[in-house]
Symmetry: C2
Subunit: 207 residues, 2 copies
């Protein structure tokens, strides 16, 4: 396997407004490191996916929403990760996703750290990330040019990139966040790392 | 703690038509044994719960249904548990639930083994369990009087028992299957045993 071979990678699909996506984001790089697999981060628009599949956000379902509100801080505490329910929740994360894909082209080493910073601001600190100004603030803290970002997220090619990524995710079977593809094998949810690890471990035994 | 103290127990809510309920049923008694906690099994009518909460069966959601059909046999293989997709799926499991509650009164030691046999027939062997005749067949294999069972499942008090259990589950926050309550702490899904174990381990440290 070489760097251009997508077979060797872990493809990580998420929405910045997904609390289980946030929790998964704390762990996935360690899994990638442990098994020598590059992790590719793909922010997508879960609202579009829910509309297409008929799947729904947990928060919109009686009792399931209550459970999620109890479960996420509990999981974060077990993982020793900061967690604050943001207000408002959920939010549209189009600006953050557009900024991510712009960085992927423009300054690729900063794309994943920027994604982590967005998650940290939203679910770690509980601050809104839906407005472009929020995203610029996060980016500038990392030394990214806020003016260039502001311009980039209005560009048609960047807007289209988020649409294409989301449509591509749907084609690949993504119905929620977080969703992982490892050599085409799908894993859904922040509590399936043991399964991914077992899959990767077996894969190694085979070679 | 004593036997009449519900604080010490693991309350296990499930529908016989839930594949993740089947997978959880393979493990939960071992968890109970390991931590010295009695496990109380409660078959419920998930269709009623979905109607009340707006939650939906995975199978009715595009892509999520496809994922479940791949995920359940994969999980079963990892757990070394037999798994056959039953046809038809899902089914109404009212007869099995009624028979379970009748046994709970009539021959309590056979109630949980009967529940396990129902799960095994449906998801282990892939045989229908929706008809009363299917349930009688399973019961008779265990030496239970099929005629008495056939009479019991038509009784109003037994019918009401399933309704009451399902309503009670809703009151307790149950929105899906499998769902566990440990000292009031809720856990949802067949992949949260690590969390239940951590919770029980901590509880033990406190005493």
């Amino acid at each position: 396997m070489n760097a251009s071979d997508p077979v060797g990678t872990i493809e990580f699909y998420f929405d910045f407004s997904s609390p289980y996506g946030y929790l998964a984001a704390q762990k996935i790089d360690r899994i990638g490191d442990r098994y020598g697999r590059p992790v590719h981060w793909h922010p997508i628009m879960l609202g579009v996916i829910f509309k297409e599949t008929g799947n729904r956000a947990n928060d919109g379902i009686d009792l399931k929403g209550d459970y999620m509100r109890r479960d996420c801080p509990r999981l974060a505490a077990m993982m020793d990760v900061p967690f604050t329910w943001p207000e408002p929740f959920p939010v549209a994360t189009l600006a953050a996703a557009r900024a991510f894909y712009w960085l992927e082209d423009h300054d690729p080493d900063k794309a994943v750290p920027f994604a982590k910073a967005c998650f940290h601001h939203y679910f770690g600190l509980g601050n809104d990330i839906s407005d472009v100004q929020d995203v610029i603030y996060i980016a500038e803290e990392m030394g990214i040019d806020g003016g260039a970002l502001a311009e980039a997220v209005t560009r048609d090619d960047i807007k289209q990139r988020v649409k294409d990524k989301t449509a591509q995710a749907l084609d690949l079977g993504v119905f929620g966040s977080p969703y992982f593809l490892v050599e085409g094998e799908p894993f859904f949810g922040s509590d399936r790392f043991w399964q991914i690890e077992r899959y990767l471990g077996k894969g190694k035994d085979k070679t």
